[in-house]
């Protein structure tokens, strides 16, 4: 049984060796929460796709109307390469907030739409200057000095998802040293940096929960 060359003993030998080889290649027990399909399973994923289309339309509009200015408005810089990534960031952030704020809702689409629209038009705006109608509110504390002063616990339905704290170039321009919140709410767990490798991080500030 030690040699695979004999006709009779080859099959049991093969079975044993195969099982051993495959078993040794196995990793740890998988967790469904980490599976790729979970991205589809998340409530609001389909709404997210719709929102992404809406955001793409906004981006196309910005390109058509404003050219480089439009791109700069959306990306926080004149680099068109960052546009797509920026749009995805905006939509994801807006959708997450909309869904979190309305537990019963599966999509939060209207809020997402407003939120993305607000972001698209507000490249480098401090939190106090969030567009009218979006209803952004900031904490009446010293934290509101910077662009990341939006209360993360506030309902986006109330604050209109204006993303005052999550705005374009948040880290870059929210750097009021006395702010203390320029890196996001320290009570919140850090959000992983989604900036893809090889991208210009300066041109694509990663939004953090504001």
């Amino acid at each position: 049984m030690t040699s695979p060359s004999g006709d009779d003993d080859f099959e049991p030998w093969l079975e044993r060796e195969l099982r051993q080889a495959v078993r040794s290649a196995r990793g740890s027990r998988p967790r469904a929460e980490q599976a790729a399909y979970r991205a589809l399973a998340r409530p609001g994923a389909s709404a997210g796709l719709r929102s992404a289309r809406a955001a793409a339309a906004i981006a196309a509009f910005a390109l058509a109307v404003g050219g480089v200015t439009g791109v700069a408005a959306m990306t926080g810089g004149p680099n068109p390469m960052t546009l797509g990534y920026r749009v995805v960031q905006m939509v994801t952030a807006c959708r997450d907030r909309a869904i979190a704020s309305t537990p019963g809702s599966q999509s939060g689409s209207p809020n997402v739409g407003r939120c993305v629209g607000a972001l698209a038009g507000q490249p480098d705006v401090p939190s106090g200057a969030v567009p009218a109608g979006t209803g952004a509110q900031t904490k009446p504390t010293t934290l509101q000095a910077g662009p990341r002063a939006t209360d993360p616990s506030a309902s986006p339905g109330q604050n209109g998802n204006a993303q005052g704290g999550n705005g374009q170039g948040g880290n870059a321009q929210g750097g009021a040293p006395e702010n203390g919140n320029a890196q996001g709410d320290p009570t919140q767990p850090p959000k992983p940096d989604k900036t893809p490798k090889g991208r210009d991080k300066r041109a694509t500030p990663t939004p953090t929960p504001g």
Binding site: S5, F10, L18, V22, R26, P30, A35, A36, Y37
Partner: protein, 185 residues
């Protein structure tokens, strides 16, 4: 074969799909690691397979074990991956034109058996793994590979013969290193 994780999966149920994922992931991964060149490719393909399966989950018909259905999807993903990989290899060969290829460091640590298995046509190696690792019947393999049972039998026979020839020869010439462990002989 058993339906790991228990029966009673309901098509379209996200909770049941999670259960199915956790119950079958390692077996699917075990199959694909035998078909594909490396671990990373196997992981990618398994994830893609579950993604496709999840999209089709509401339409799944529980007339066969869910794992067989998943295997069918995963093997198709792996075959597509191998096709793309082969095209890429041909492209690289053309680009190199005489320049020796860089040695893949993972290749030297891969057990001979896995290497030989990966050299087989993917549907042959899949049939072998499903039979000898997972204990599938010919009927279940036929369902997983979407071929008649007779074809499964013939593929298994061809695959075994080829492996026996290759591995027997290695053993005879002293190049056979079970599981990659160097031998003094």
């Amino acid at each position: 074969m058993e339906d790991p994780g228990g029966r009673g999966y309901r098509p379209g149920s996200a909770h049941d799909f999670d259960r199915l994922y956790e119950a079958t992931y390692q077996r699917l991964f075990g199959t694909l690691i035998a078909l594909l060149r490396d671990r990373a490719a196997a992981e990618d393909c398994v994830q893609e397979a579950y993604l496709r399966a999840y999209e089709a989950w509401p339409r799944w018909k529980p007339d066969a074990p869910a794992e067989v259905w998943l295997h069918r999807i995963a093997i198709n993903v792996a075959i597509s991956h191998r096709r793309r990989e082969r095209l890429r290899t041909v492209g690289e060969l053309v680009r190199r034109l005489g320049v020796p290829a860089a040695v893949d460091p993972s290749e030297s640590t891969t057990p001979e058996l896995l290497r030989e298995l990966r050299a087989l046509p993917p549907k042959q190696s899949a049939a072998l793994v499903l039979r000898h690792v997972h204990g599938y019947t010919n009927r279940e393999i036929a369902r997983a590979l979407d071929v008649p049972e007779r074809t499964v039998a013939s593929r298994l026979a061809s695959a075994r013969a080829r492996l026996q020839e290759r591995l027997g020869w290695m053993r005879a010439t002293g190049t056979w290193l079970p599981n990659g462990v160097p031998s003094d002989k």
